[in-house]
């Protein structure tokens, strides 16, 4: 039996930023080189935050849904979300997770039907965050409402509290989850606003990309805090409604045409 000498290490978690920073600045430099304009260099830097930088409350990510452009028979956004996040149906509709769904709303008086995607509304004052006993349900400072599945105990109180029925509980063991979308039995989950894409600097979500690809342009992702962003300009010009605005939650997802 051999014995290794006991060695003690102090844990000093200072990341080797230099390597990552180097890669990042190289990328930016390449972009800037292409455009030849120093102003665009700064614009690019503002788009994709460096990996080692925490998200900030200067942004508030949100979505604008233009229901006039949304087609009743189209569910491209739903398929794209399922594909992007690895939400594979287990053939049990009552317990299968749905992060985004197509909702049809019919006016009983007039018979008019409005079709729209419905998902987590990324509230500024989310009831799910209020009721979560462990604080697993939380709002990231850039406005994205998430579940920290490391502290979620699966009590489902958030599902009771959510006015939008946006959350799903995982009712069975899963396998083959995607690396950027960890999910598993016993925890609650919901739309993450494609947080992995946002952090990567894609500046878009899978559902909005798919909608644009279909040529419908019913979904627009963007920064509600940036007055120059497309979403802010459109909201300023045409306005946008919150669903269950009476609850005063200040949702990050706004709708036009309802």
């Amino acid at each position: 039996m051999s014995t290794e000498p006991v060695m003690r290490y102090t844990l000093d978690i200072t990341e080797d930023i230099s390597v990552e920073r180097r890669n990042f600045t190289q990328g930016i430099a390449a972009l800037a080189g292409l455009t030849l304009a120093p102003g665009v260099f700064l614009y690019c830097a503002a788009e994709a935050k460096p990996d080692d930088q925490a998200v900030s409350s200067q942004q508030r990510w949100g979505m604008l849904v233009n229901t006039n452009n949304c087609q009743e028979d189209c569910d491209a956004c739903v398929s794209a979300c399922n594909e992007e996040n690895g939400l594979w149906s287990l053939g049990r509709p009552a317990t299968d997770a749905q992060w985004i769904r197509k909702l049809n709303v019919k006016d009983r008086q007039t018979g008019h039907v409005t079709s729209m995607p419905m998902m987590c509304q990324h509230c500024e004052h989310p009831p799910c965050v209020d009721v979560c006993p462990t604080g697993a349900s939380f709002r990231r400072v850039d406005g994205i409402v998430l579940v920290n599945k490391h502290t979620c105990i699966g009590c489902r109180y958030c599902m009771m509290a959510c006015p939008y029925k946006a959350r799903s509980f995982i009712h069975e063991p899963l396998q083959d989850q995607l690396p950027h979308s960890p999910r598993g039995k016993g925890c609650v989950e919901s739309c993450t606003l494609c947080v992995h894409k946002v952090d990567r600097g894609d500046n878009n979500t899978a559902c909005a990309e798919a909608c644009a690809k279909e040529g419908h342009q019913a979904l627009l992702f963007g920064d509600l805090n940036d007055p120059e962003s497309e979403i802010s300009k459109r909201l300023e010009q045409f306005g946008g409604t919150q669903i269950r605005a009476d609850l005063g939650l200040n949702t990050g997802v706004r709708y036009q045409g309802i």
Binding site: M1, S2, T3, E4, V6, M7, R8, Y9, L11, I13, E15, D16, I17, V19, E20, K49, D51, D52, Q53, A54, V55, G86, W88, F138, R140, D142, L146, N148, K149, H150, P173, L174, Q175, D176, Q177, L178, P179, H180, P182, R183, G184, K185, C187, V195, D199, R200
Partner: protein, 146 residues
């Protein structure tokens, strides 16, 4: 109490069955920290990084679990990636030996994305057989120093 663990001959078949990592992290060190440090303290790094990533959105690669998996979980000679339920999985090989029970891979991907996407293809999915967790465990070389 400090516990020193030797990996050699720990698991049936031995570490030679575990495909080598993709590469080295830098010129100075093989892994993201010296190997001896990683053996004992990888979880402290992962845990610290976990909270920063989930809550603050910090996405550096050095201590990210995806980074660990991408580098360490490589295909064997037959082009197959081990799952965590197999003793040829890099993480499982040692956790089994040390009788450490983790729940990371109940939610997290235990293989790189390309392996998972491949497993989702219908013809691959049909002929998959996931072996049960290790019948043979040999607790032969655990030594306690104090």
């Amino acid at each position: 109490m400090a516990c020193s663990v030797l990996l050699s001959g720990a698991v049936s078949g031995g570490p030679e069955d575990i495909p080598p990592p993709k590469g080295v992290y830098s010129e100075d060190t093989l892994c993201v920290e010296p190997v001896e440090v990683m053996r004992r303290q990888h979880f402290d790094y992962i845990l610290d990084h976990r909270d920063r990533t989930v809550v603050e959105g910090i996405r550096t690669k050095q201590y990210s679990l995806i980074g660990c998996i991408d580098c360490h979980i490589t295909p064997n000679a037959q082009g197959e990636y081990a799952r965590y339920s197999q003793d040829t999985h890099f993480c499982a090989s040692c956790h089994l030996f040390t009788a450490v029970n983790i729940d990371c891979f109940q939610c997290h991907a235990d293989r790189p994305e390309e392996a998972i996407r491949k497993a989702q293809e219908p013809d691959v999915k049909a002929q998959q057989s996931v072996p049960e967790l290790h019948e043979t465990l040999q607790f032969s070389t655990i030594t306690f120093d104090r």
